[in-house]
């Protein structure tokens, strides 16, 4: 029951829509090419500032009028920063979709970007970054990506304090002007709406030629060393990452099966070996993290300092033992888990809008849910084992925050 529509505007912008008849809501994601890896050197954090500044007045609305207009439509909104995109997402009642898109066209194309408001947005971005110092779990993963991915792909969306301090309203406004390179903008929508009128509306609202292009960097290898950051907390926060093929490389389902066997659920290996059998951690888990040309399996564990060394060793052992064999029963459970997540996501317009946009950007096409289901179904122990022998997960980048350094 797939209902995907694809429309390309004359200016190159992509619009993707999937109708979901069993729900009343609609969600959309607007991916703009202002991700952390596409900003000029020295401007790390500009996307975080813009995520706030753009909402401080647009079109003929003041900051207050704009927020009121968004709130009056009952929009649940958010912004997100990935290496490639500054993404605006929203969920709302399906009948309000067009009105919401009109507001977002103003936000993206006619923001006021007043200088005095810039100072406030930058101040908030700096505060949010400093807030990570009181959130070691969040911070350790940010530092881990920076250690793991080739620069600029590990640059933190939240920015760096010195660069945020030095950022000017002029620089940031120039970056905002680049935001609308239509050939790099993807709009995805899912839920209860008619595609045709939305296409016509978007065509009218976003009919604008490219104003600039995001910065393109030549990737430089990441350090991938062990880094320890001392703090006085109660726990050691351990981040580990090992290389995996990116989704575009064609082993997505084998990778997902391996991660699921390792950490997909409470009967998975990490939970069983680290928590159930040894009581080492409350929080332990691994997940697949894919960019366009780079990917890895990222793992987090939090444990009191005296147990940190053993925790690390058990986790590494569990990664390493995957290539020694998986059972048919483990794969069956992994497949059932992956399929049931897929079906539950199909009930949520927000999850589907995110999936559509992600597929289009990373793969150049949107996989129908039935294709994903079939591919999961087709996984065999042999195929997953072939994959694991080629990707034995033996080398790790590690970052820890806590009272006591460990040996990696």
């Amino acid at each position: 029951m797939q209902n995907l529509n694809h429309y390309q505007l004359a200016n190159g912008m992509t619009l993707l829509g999937e109708r979901m008849d069993h729900i009343q809501s609609a969600s959309f994601h607007i991916l703009t090419p202002l991700g952390a890896a596409r900003l000029a050197d020295g401007c790390c954090g500009a996307a975080s500032v813009l995520a706030d500044w753009l909402f401080r007045g647009a079109g003929d609305r003041s900051s207050r009028q704009l927020v009121e207009a968004l709130d009056n439509l009952g929009i649940h909104r958010n912004t997100g920063i990935t290496p490639y995109h500054l993404t605006f997402n929203a969920a709302l009642e399906g009948s309000n979709l067009q009105a919401a898109l009109e507001l977002y066209a103003d936000i993206l194309l006619a923001p006021k970007l007043e200088a005095e408001q810039f100072e406030l947005s930058r101040n908030l971005a700096i505060q949010e970054l400093k807030g990570l110092d009181d959130d070691p779990r969040g911070k350790v993963m940010m530092l881990l990506y920076e250690q793991f991915y080739p620069d600029p792909f590990g640059r933190p969306g939240q920015g760096k304090e010195a660069e945020l301090e030095a950022l000017t309203a002029g620089q940031c406004a120039d970056i905002a002007a680049q935001l609308f390179d239509p050939s790099q903008v993807i709009v995805s929508a899912a839920g209860k709406f008619d595609f045709e009128p939305v296409c016509r509306a978007v065509e009218g609202l976003f009919d604008r030629p490219a104003a600039g292009a995001p910065t393109s960097h030549t990737p430089a290898p990441a350090p991938r060393r062990y880094a320890h950051y001392p703090n006085e907390g109660a726990q050691m926060h351990i981040g580990l990452m090992t290389e995996a093929p990116p989704i575009s490389a064609g082993h997505y389902y084998e990778t997902m099966a391996a991660v699921s066997i390792l950490s997909g659920s409470m009967s998975s290996r990490l939970f069983t070996e680290v928590r159930e059998k040894r009581g080492l951690c409350y929080a332990v888990g691994a997940r697949y993290h894919t960019l366009k040309d780079h990917a890895g399996i990222a793992c987090y564990a939090g444990t009191t300092p005296d147990k940190a060394q053993q925790t690390l060793e058990v986790i590494r052992q569990q990664f390493g033992q995957l290539k020694d064999g998986i059972t048919d029963d483990e794969l069956q459970r992994a497949k059932i888990g992956l399929k049931s997540s897929l079906i539950m996501k199909s009930e949520s317009s927000g999850a589907r809008a995110a999936g559509i946009a992600g597929d289009h950007f990373l793969l150049g096409r949107v996989r129908p849910l039935e294709e994903i289901r079939q591919a999961i179904e087709n996984l065999t122990v042999d195929a997953v084992m072939d994959f694991l022998r080629q990707h034995p997960f033996e080398t790790f980048t590690a970052v820890t925050i806590g009272p006591k350094e460990i040996r990696v």
Partner: protein, 407 residues
């Protein structure tokens, strides 16, 4: 959408909101017990017991339990609060009966000593994890100060001391008193065959014996006070504010809910315009925490330590203005639209509907459909909000603040 309910002879209640068009189904076992039902000596036992239910029965080991859930493709978990312990799972409709059967079996756990000792380590790690989360710490400490001797002030997790000292015998005794059928409600929603579900629950739970589990409701007389603490290694100032609010049973609940959005939503609220928009704080929110015959408005603010005094002045001004001038009609409309859209979005997935459905029955013995929910939200007036503001004074708050150690 159809509502059905039934009570077994031993007092166990079963309710369902049936939606034959849903792609999935969700089931929850709602046990009316939590940290407020504990003595200080066994503080944390409800939450610890929640972990222990996953350790299995006389015929199922912990690993077998986890494997069984995973074989059903269940998205399952549990949570413990001051007054409820809820076990839930979302599955495809054809697996609903099997997952309900599994939960029903787990509701009669063995509570083995060696599992208890191992899980105690995990609980102590969980307590350590929250020690590194100042936002959680200030809420916990603020609630304890606000409720003082009232049992709702007790920590859900317990303390390192109470957990270390807890024995498996104490847990078994608590279990026997609290996990009785007349203290449990089975809640279902989505694509559900109610009759089959009832026979499944009857088969597995029909022989359990009732125990008339009670709950104390001592009077709560808050005496506002302020405590400022410091902790080395912190960088930001974290504040939690508590003031009295309506209980879940109170008919003014919807009025209080809208007031909480007007005052402390993440966008467009009084807090937003006075604290976050001018970059005085990076987070400021107010939530309604209604409970069994009591309740609190609780706020959390995070800011630069040097802005802490200014934040408190601004909060006091916001509360004074609300008390003096009340709210505007446009503010109420915006809050109403936000809440209406949350209700609609949450109700799209059975899992999103389960908790509000269950709590309405546990606390109020009442079914409130999504449409009735929407009607209640639509009917709130500015005058009702003003009445509420005069009855529950936001300015009379208890404050707990935690910031960096002084140089």
């Amino acid at each position: 959408m159809q509502f059905k309910h039934k009570q077994l002879d031993n007092g166990l209640r079963i309710i369902a909101e049936v939606n034959p068009g849903a792609q999935s189904a969700a089931v929850g076992f709602f046990v009316r017990t939590g940290s407020r039902d504990e003595s200080a000596e066994i503080n944390g036992v409800s939450h610890f017991l929640e972990h222990m239910l996953f350790k299995g029965t006389d015929t199922l080991s912990a690993l077998e339990v986890n494997e069984a859930f995973d074989r059903l493709g269940a998205k399952f978990n549990a949570f413990t609060s001051e007054e409820n312990t809820v076990y839930y799972a979302a599955v495809l409709p054809e697996q609903l009966e099997a997952v309900t059967e599994l939960w029903a079996q787990l509701m009669r756990p063995t509570l083995r000593k060696d599992d208890f000792d191992m899980e105690k380590q995990v609980i102590l790690e969980e307590i350590a994890m929250y020690l590194d989360m100042p936002e959680f710490l200030v809420f916990d400490r603020g609630r304890e100060m606000f409720f003082k001797d009232h049992p709702c002030g007790q920590s859900v997790l317990g303390t390192v001391q109470s957990i270390t000292d807890l024995t498996v015998e104490q847990m078994r005794d608590y279990f026997g008193r609290r996990y009785a059928p007349d203290n449990i409600t089975v809640v279902c929603c989505g694509n559900v065959d109610f009759d089959r579900l009832c026979s499944c629950v009857q088969r597995h739970c029909g022989h359990w014996t009732a125990a008339q589990a009670d709950r104390r409701h001592p009077a709560h007389r808050p005496a506002p006070k302020k405590v400022y603490d410091h902790k080395s290694g912190l960088f930001r100032q974290h504040l939690a504010l508590y003031s009295p609010a309506v209980s879940i049973q109170d008919d003014r609940w919807y009025v209080a809910k809208l007031l909480s959005v007007i005052v402390g939503d993440s966008s467009g609220s009084r807090y937003f315009w006075s604290l976050v928009d001018p970059a005085i704080a990076d987070t400021a929110m107010l939530e309604l925490a209604s409970m069994d015959q009591t309740g609190a408005f609780c706020s959390y603010v995070c800011c630069d330590p040097e802005n802490a005094a200014q934040v408190e002045d601004i909060l006091s001004r916001i509360f004074a203005e609300l008390a003096r001038d009340g709210i505007g009609a446009a503010e109420l409309e915006a809050a109403r639209n936000k809440v209406l859209s949350s209700v609609a979005l949450n109700s799209e997935q059975p899992m999103g509907r389960l908790v509000s459905l269950g709590f309405n029955w546990v606390y109020r013995s009442e079914y409130i459909s999504v449409l009735q929910d929407i009607e209640h939200i639509r009917s709130v007036t500015v005058e009702q909000v003003h009445d509420l503001l005069s009855q529950f004074r936001l300015g009379d708050y208890t404050l707990y603040a935690l910031g960096p150690a002084k140089q």
